[in-house]
């Protein structure tokens, strides 16, 4: 596999292989599935992701992005668990999640081209994961399925709270 393709695949898999990223994306997707304007939330997330990557390109220094990401995951998980999905708060959290995920994904590539390939892969991987999980959760129509989604939300919130404590220790 060429270096460029390898860098792209590394970026593509990043949201899946980094547990904090996967946790946040699943929580956001579960919330997305309950939103009437899913496309708007997805667009806000993608734009924030791009803005975060732009900040990396402009050489923004180390940020507490991981901690912010976990706080967002806890909030999103609690909202899913409570079946409380206010539109504006969902938009705000989608924006923070996108920017924080990007800032927590600095490419480790040697060349500029590889770095761009990694960033492109991460963007595609994160958006694809968000869409796939949201589509699956959107099919949860029966009472027990919706209850299952809420239970998963509570598990995500609980996990994120525990890890946040580890980060803040």
């Amino acid at each position: 596999m060429s270096g460029l393709l390898q860098a792209f695949v590394d970026g593509l898999l990043n949201p899946l292989t980094t547990p904090a990223h996967a946790l946040t994306l699943i929580a956001l997707a579960l919330l997305l599935a309950r939103q009437p304007q899913r496309f708007v939330v997805l667009l806000i997330f993608a734009l924030a992701l791009a803005a975060g990557f732009l900040a990396i390109v402009l050489a923004v220094e180390t940020t507490p992005a991981r901690t912010v990401l976990l706080a967002v995951a806890a909030a999103l998980g609690a909202m899913v668990a409570a079946a409380w999905t206010p539109k504006l708060l969902a938009w705000l959290l989608a924006a923070i999640a996108g920017a924080a995920l990007a800032l927590d994904s600095p490419p480790q590539a040697v060349t500029i081209a590889d770095a761009y390939a990694t960033l492109g892969g991460t963007t595609l991987g994160a958006c694809a994961m968000l869409i796939v999980v949201a589509v699956i959760a959107g099919h949860a129509k029966a009472d027990w399925q919706r209850l299952g989604v809420r239970i998963v939300g509570s598990w995500i919130a609980a996990s994120a709270i525990l890890v946040l404590a580890v980060q803040l220790r």
């Binding site: 946790l23 809420r150 709270i161």
Partner: protein, 204 residues
């Protein structure tokens, strides 16, 4: 209406128990705690399953929820993990909570007693009792978070195992639909109380 709710919950429990079986099908490696996400998840998943006092109390939460019926049957498995996580966070941040082991043993005694007596307090009181004990359980596990593990994976595994124990309790608790099942569940409550008393005698 009640039958419909029970069939919905039974469907959910079927999926959850299947997940539990799949996840628990690798006990030989469950004790591995390493820095990888897989090791962290397996270590976290195994953690709640190796403490009998924790296991019986978690099952008791589900059993009592099933005994109380809707909305407690779904409210408890949603709220318990989050309150427990707060207890875990308190421990991780180094804030001491006195009498944690006594609290855990007492949770089995009280929850088992509630089931044995078929107690049906108002939902707010039931939630308060369960929530208070969740702090003790969370604190005990938070204090034992192994260093060097993937914290996110460990926490996800730990929370999932706890949640699945609740769902196992709810599945058992659905037997209360039948008169013989109600007796069986109440007998299980007595057993849980006895296990709690055994641990309390050790803790004191």
């Amino acid at each position: 209406m009640r039958d419909h709710e029970h069939s919905n919950i039974a469907g959910l429990l079927g999926v959850a128990l299947l997940a539990a079986l799949v996840l628990a099908s690798r006990p030989a490696v469950a004790h591995i705690v390493d820095g990888s996400a897989t090791g962290g998840f397996l270590g976290g998943f195994a953690h709640p399953l190796f403490g009998l006092d924790h296991v019986v109390a978690m099952v008791a939460v589900g059993l009592w929820g099933a005994f109380l019926g809707p909305p407690a049957i779904w409210l408890l498995p949603i709220t318990f993990p989050m309150v427990m996580a707060v207890g875990g966070a308190i421990a991780i941040l180094g804030v001491p909570v006195p009498g944690v082991e006594i609290g855990i043993a007492s949770s089995a005694i009280v929850l088992g007693g509630m089931i044995a007596l078929a107690a049906r307090p108002p939902l707010a009181i039931a939630a308060l009792i369960v929530g208070a004990f969740a702090i003790f359980h969370g604190h005990a596990h938070g204090a034992e978070l192994p260093p060097g593990t993937d914290a996110v994976a460990f926490s996800v595994g730990f929370v999932m195992a706890t949640g699945l124990l609740h769902l196992a309790g709810i599945a058992f608790g659905l037997l209360t639909r039948w008169p013989a099942g109600r007796i069986g569940v109440r007998v299980a409550g007595v057993g849980i109380t006895l296990v709690g008393a055994m641990f309390l005698s050790k803790a004191i």
